[in-house]
């Protein structure tokens, strides 16, 4: 008798708890539409400067290198998520939160971060610069 009662209560509790937990976890957004974004026109950015923008709901950065080409990475520090700062004195990224440093390729130069910054694909079509996720993950 007590078992049936207990089991019943457990089922009711689970029935209440499950939707609540699902309600708490945010619905995943379809990224298909956003997987390629327009960032800026060519000829606007000076060499050795960076432009920050939002990509896939996270901060990203487009850098114009000293040689005039473009590169783009996630700007979200792989340590604990602060936004890294582009340092034109030596072309690297510095995270002000706990001092991690990343090379322009995204590689970790100084901890505490362990993982590299993900790199994005830059494509120029006409005058416009687009950034997208690489077809094959880098």
């Amino acid at each position: 008798m007590n078992r049936i009662l207990g089991g019943g209560v457990a089922i009711v509790a689970a029935y209440i708890l499950y939707p609540v937990i699902r309600f708490l976890s945010p619905p995943s957004v379809a990224l298909g539409e956003q997987s390629k974004v327009f960032v800026t026109d060519t000829g606007i950015m000076k060499r050795n400067t960076a432009k920050y923008f939002k990509f896939l709901d996270e901060p990203a950065v487009l850098v114009r290198l000293p040689n005039g080409t473009y590169t783009s990475l996630s700007a979200k520090c792989t340590h604990l998520g602060c936004t890294v700062q582009f340092r034109s004195d030596g072309d690297y990224f510095h995270c002000a939160c706990h001092g991690s440093e990343f090379a322009i390729t995204g590689k970790v130069m100084r901890g505490p971060a362990v993982l590299p910054l993900p790199k994005y694909q830059v494509s120029v079509s006409g005058e416009k610069i687009f950034v997208s996720v690489p077809i094959e993950p880098a």
Binding site: K54, P59, C82, T83, C97, P112, V114
Partner: protein, 345 residues
């Protein structure tokens, strides 16, 4: 008049138990009695936070477009807005300090020993709640500093295996700290945490009435005590008056500031640091790989939580030097890491 009023309630509710309790309640007096004031002071400050917090919530808007503006409006336009917000701001700082002092003083007096184990656990949980209050409240003004502090805070659990990412997502409410995070932190700060805090604090205080104040072992031979009503309460009130005076002085000299509004795509500014009570965690994160840093801190917190059950000697009313040293080590670590964080930029 007073007589009749008391009589009215006495007939209907039987206040005799209450009266007996008031008559009998006493507080032991000895060399370390000084530390008994911090619990009462914490209670006073929490009340202050709840009152000023409710007032602030009347103007506050938990939306990235208006949050910063609404706090600015409170500071600049609302009459005595600077006063209410600055009391809430300074009250939070005082409260954290007072709860820490209260905890360490009861730790070193081994007040957690049998039969007060549950009080100790409730106390540690209340400290956790107070820190959760400051963490969630910190985001609300939506400044650059509060934004990145929250980022680090919500990403910290993601280090944990299996459940970590899930917890981060639930705290963020999206793919990154943003509008959804702000409403979540606001709801936590103004609804969920206050309810939990009132519950736990009520239990903690009720238990303290059941057991009375613990006397440290070294003072166990002292038999002196003073009555709670009115003697100790008057001392308590004097401490509250003094505390409020100091709080108001800080409020007048250094009203709460308001940093620039965050621009979520811009990088974290150089030299950002958390509030003083999180500096030891911050410095630990800077110096050690995050899994080791967070793993060790989590473990230490768990040990701290169940210390009454580990310290078997204290429960038998024997000296337990090991646990005194352990507490001292924790304290020294926290203080030295905090100082280090101040010294290095």
């Amino acid at each position: 008049m007073k007589q009749r009023l008391v009589g009215f309630f006495d007939e209907r509710m039987d206040l005799s138990a209450l009266r007996r309790w008031a008559k009998e309640k006493s507080v032991p007096q000895h060399k370390h009695s000084f530390w008994y004031y911090f619990g009462g002071l914490a209670l006073f400050l929490i009340t202050l936070q709840i009152i000023t917090g409710i007032l602030l919530a009347l103007y506050y808007s938990p939306n990235p477009a208006y949050a910063h503006e609404s706090v600015k409006y409170v500071m600049e336009t609302v009459k005595y807005g600077w006063l209410i917000r600055s009391i809430h701001f300074w009250g939070a700082n005082f409260l954290v300090a007072v709860v820490f002092i209260h905890m360490f003083s009861t730790y070193f007096m081994k007040a957690y020993r049998k039969p007060r184990e549950v009080m100790w656990i409730l106390g540690v949980l209340i400290l956790g709640l107070v820190l959760a209050f400051t963490f969630t409240g910190y985001l609300l003004p939506w400044t650059t500093l509060s934004y990145f502090a929250t980022k680090v805070g919500v990403n910290t659990p993601s280090i944990m295996p299996i459940l970590g990412r899930f917890i981060t997502r639930i705290m963020e409410g999206g793919r990154d700290v943003g509008a959804a995070t702000l409403t979540r932190m606001f709801t936590l700060h103004t609804v969920i945490l206050p309810l939990l805090a009132v519950l736990l604090i009520t239990l903690h205080v009720l238990l303290s009435q059941v057991f009375g104040s613990s006397v440290p072992l070294s003072q166990a031979n002292k038999r002196e005590a003073i009555k709670f009503f009115p003697n100790f309460l008057m001392r308590d009130a004097a401490v509250w008056a003094g505390g409020l005076a100091i709080l108001l002085a800080m409020v007048t000299m250094f009203p709460a500031g308001l940093g620039p509004k965050v621009n979520p795509v811009m990088p974290a500014p150089v030299g950002i640091k958390p509030e003083w009570y999180f500096l030891f965690v911050f410095e630990t994160l800077r110096r050690f790989p995050e899994t080791i840093a967070i793993g060790t801190i989590t473990l230490a917190v768990l040990v701290w939580l169940i210390v009454p059950f580990l310290d078997r000697r204290a429960s038998r009313n024997q000296k337990s030097t090991f646990f005194t040293l352990f507490g001292a080590a924790v304290l020294v670590y926290m203080i030295s890491m905090t100082i280090l964080a101040y010294l290095t930029t």
